[in-house]
Symmetry: C2
Subunit: 141 residues, 2 copies
DNA sequence: TATAAACTTGACCATTTTAGTCGGGTATGT
DNA sequence: ACATACCCGACTAAAATGGTCAAGTTTATA
């Protein structure tokens, strides 16, 4: 199970954005330089963040992005959903009664994977951008 | 973040094994048929489970595999570790002071990913094969 | 003792996903 | 006008995934 760079970058970029957001819009170029993320890749990511109304864009010189909500309203869940970073513990369709690879019934460990998915999503549900802003020095795991 | 089939199959197969384990060894062919997992793939998986002393093998006709420990001693952690299904929330080396892709320092969200990794691993640490055996009818998430 | 069931090992492979890059735009402040 | 910065879609190299295949060795049992 691994977290993809896209998801990781999305959160990194938004934390960066939230920090410098106060007065002026923040350009992707700045984020790219500060966080060491490819500019072209950031553009893909922010296009999705914008579609999902997590950020707003301002075009032209001195343009950039700003948050569209307050940091405590932006949860990891929202960010990951926006960039299609989803938690998948199974392959079969959620709604369907059928199991993986066309089996008539769900597998014997199916409950387990559902539990796991809930467990992970709970973490994402309980973390907001705001938490990440405060936490920078103190946290030590 | 998705769970790979290898990890999922390993757990499925072991639950199946634990159920039929009482008297005779269980052949991979049987597990393959019951769980709908490719026999060749199962062989790869059980080779690793054996190396990690989670199962024992009995060769020859009427042979098969048996658990090498009692079900409550086999945690998901052990199973996943055996088949190299690891939780990775970052790309950089854990021990190193350096960050991802050669950056001098860890990224601003690094604590978060460490927390996430711990959160997921806790789940695996707290589930044993035994839990999965009892849980089959009652659990409903 | 012949045979078949079942484990053992290692190589191989198609497909999908990931993590980008590239090349063109368009809008706008100075 | 021009540089900065967003916008958009296509393309791609490399890695991971989810297997398959071939050629063994071991052992119960008829
Ligand atoms: S994971 Fe698909 S059937 Fe259980
Ligand atoms: S994830 Fe690698 S530096 Fe933080």
């Amino acid at each position: 199970m691994k977290l993809t760079s896209k998801g990781r970058y999305a959160v990194m970029a938004l934390v960066d954005l939230a920090r410098f957001d106060n007065i002026n819009p923040v350009s992707l170029r700045d984020i790219s330089l500060r966080q060491g993320i490819s500019l072209d890749y950031l553009e893909q990511i922010f296009s999705k963040l914008k579609k999902n109304e997590i950020v707003k864009s301002i075009r032209g010189t001195q343009g950039g992005y700003v948050l569209n909500k307050s940091p405590n309203e932006i949860k990891l869940t929202n960010i990951f959903h926006a960039v299609d970073e989803k938690v998948k513990t199974v392959q079969c369709k959620k709604e369907s009664k059928k199991g993986c690879n066309g089996k008539a019934t769900k597998c014997i460990t199916h409950n387990l994977w559902d539990e796991l998915e809930v467990h992970i999503n709970t973490f994402f549900e309980n973390k907001s951008l705001k938490d990440l802003l405060n936490n920078n020095k103190e946290t030590r795991v």
